[in-house]
């Protein structure tokens, strides 16, 4: 596989042989990836996606739990008030008997 050759690159630039200098850089960056290189890339992406998704879902679950807690508090308060109202009504009914 070709490596970048500093000396050669600088010589070509000095001689204003730009097309050849470009070809030298291009030959390096066009090197084929091995199967493992490509696999490493995909595994890196998927790992990154998993980490990000886990953070987003953790935030979402916190939101759900907070909302659930608030709704439970409301349900309990409502139930207690209904009970008091029912008892008061019962008292009134007894008083009026």
């Amino acid at each position: 596989m070709p490596k970048i050759n500093d000396e050669e690159f600088n010589r070509l630039l000095a001689e204003k042989k730009f097309a050849e200098a470009k070809a030298l850089v291009k030959s390096y960056i066009d090197q084929a990836w091995t199967k493992e290189d490509e696999g490493e890339f995909y595994v890196g992406l998927i790992t990154q996606y998993l980490e990000m998704s886990n953070k987003i879902n953790t935030a979402y679950i916190t939101e759900l739990q907070e909302a659930k807690k608030d709704l439970d508090r409301l349900d309990k308060a409502q139930s207690r008030v209904h009970q008091t109202l029912d008892i008061n009504k019962l008292k009134e009914d007894i008083d009026s008997m």
Binding site: I4, V25, A67, L74
Partner: protein
């Protein structure tokens, strides 16, 4: 009649081995090993271990007893294979399959390359010691376990909330609320004294949404925590303060319900007020749900776009922000857009950083050295920039993973300071 069993229990392996001569033992192991090496993935794994030790596979198999290689095979079947299979399954079903421009044959090819890389990584760990295979497995399993756990948990909570307050019941709630409103109005005309538990106006729709969204984003923004300025932290505090009015309402409902001496208003009026607050919470949840979907989609876009370009991401964010375009509250819309944009940019930045760590670091390092050694003039900088940019353009339509590496190279050239 006596009962006869047809089951013949298998003897323990070590008992069998104890009865065999060394020659017989070796012959048995050799046969088992040959059978195992006929399995392509295991053969490739052993080959990679041999490569890591700078020997060919024949020498590796000669230097190690069949018994030792079979022990490795056991660890491979128990630890490496399930980890690779699980990760590959996730990659195919939930990641690569969602990449819009990736055809099925490319997905299959990507699966093969994932296996090749993971097998190489496992081989690297195996060379350090068989016990290290556990850490290889733990690294990937932990992420996938957490992902599945969170998905299940969110699903379960959603089902619970939906069963109690969901679309079916929400209709009922609305009907009850509407009825309560009518009765309340009627009661008022009859001169019934309705004491409101709360003074205060109805929260604006935008404000209501803001409460939930602010909390959601506050957690999300830990992504860029280390880079947050004091001004950003202050901004978070400001929006988290928006939570207070709703919490104050809930607390006062609770206090009122515990105050026996309190003059309780008509049941209908009370139910209407509590119903309003309940609906505010549910509307906030609906927003959080939408935001989560958008953020997950945005994350997928960022990590699969193949070109880590903040400007592109920012313009996508504006489109996403239009989701809230029907709201009249300009401040609220700006806030949402800004938050998504920041999250998006943090994701992009992380993407570049993760790529630097993960992709072919030797090649990038080599290129960086080359750039430092050679970019001495604008002329040479321009030449290298043009060459890399042309390669990016040539690759970008193919959504090749190489584009990410080339982009890093280009960034390196562009960020180089001239002395």
């Amino acid at each position: 009649m006596p009962e006869y069993s047809a089951n013949v229990p298998s003897p323990e392996e070590q008992d069998v081995r104890a009865k065999l001569s060394p020659d017989q033992l070796q012959s048995m192991d050799q046969s088992a090993l040959e059978q195992k090496l006929a399995e392509k993935p295991f053969f490739a794994f052993v080959q990679k271990i041999a490569e890591k030790q700078n020997v060919d596979i024949q020498k590796y198999l000669t230097d190690n007893t069949p018994e030792k290689v079979l022990q490795l095979a056991e660890r491979y079947d128990k630890v490496v294979r399930p980890t690779v299979d699980r990760f590959k399954k996730f990659a195919g079903d939930q990641f690569l399959g969602k990449m819009k421009a990736l055809p099925p044959e490319a997905i299959a090819k990507a699966g093969e390359s994932i296996e090749a890389f993971m097998s190489q990584e496992a081989a690297q760990e195996a060379v350090k010691g068989a016990a290290n295979l556990e850490s290889f497995s733990a690294k990937y399993s932990a992420l996938l376990d957490q992902y599945e756990h969170l998905a299940n948990m969110a699903g379960q909570l959603n089902r619970e909330l939906s069963a109690k307050y969901g679309t079916t019941n929400k209709g009922e709630l609305s009907a009850i609320k509407a009825q309560a409103e009518l009765m309340s109005a009627s009661a008022k005309t009859q001169g019934v004294e309705n004491t409101t538990i709360h003074a205060g106006e109805r929260t604006k729709i935008a404000q209501r949404r803001l409460n939930s969204v602010a909390r959601f984003f506050k957690t999300i923004r830990t992504l860029g925590k280390e880079r947050r300025s004091d001004a950003e932290i202050a901004e978070d505090e400001k929006f988290s303060d928006a939570q207070e009015p709703l919490q104050t309402k809930i607390t006062s409902f609770e206090e009122a319900s515990l105050d026996i001496g309190l003059k309780i208003p008509a049941r209908e009026d009370y139910d209407k007020q509590i119903g309003d607050v309940r609906e505010q919470i549910l509307a906030g949840l609906s927003d959080a749900n939408k935001l989560r979907d958008i953020l997950l989609e945005a994350t997928m876009d960022v990590v699969t776009s193949g070109k880590y370009n903040i400007e592109d991401a920012a313009s996508s964010v504006n489109e996403l922000g239009d989701e809230w375009g029907d709201q009249n509250d300009a401040e609220f819309n700006d806030y949402i857009k800004q938050m998504i944009e920041q999250t998006y940019q943090a994701a992009v930045k992380r993407g570049v950083e993760a790529t630097t760590e993960n992709i072919n670091p030797n090649k990038i390092e080599e290129f960086n050295r080359f750039v430092v050694d050679n970019v001495r003039s604008n002329e040479s900088k321009q030449l290298i920039t043009d060459t890399v940019q042309q390669s990016i353009d040539a690759e970008s339509d193919k959504r090749s993973p190489k584009v990410a590496q080339l982009t890093l190279m280009l960034n390196r050239v562009n960020n180089l300071k001239f002395s």
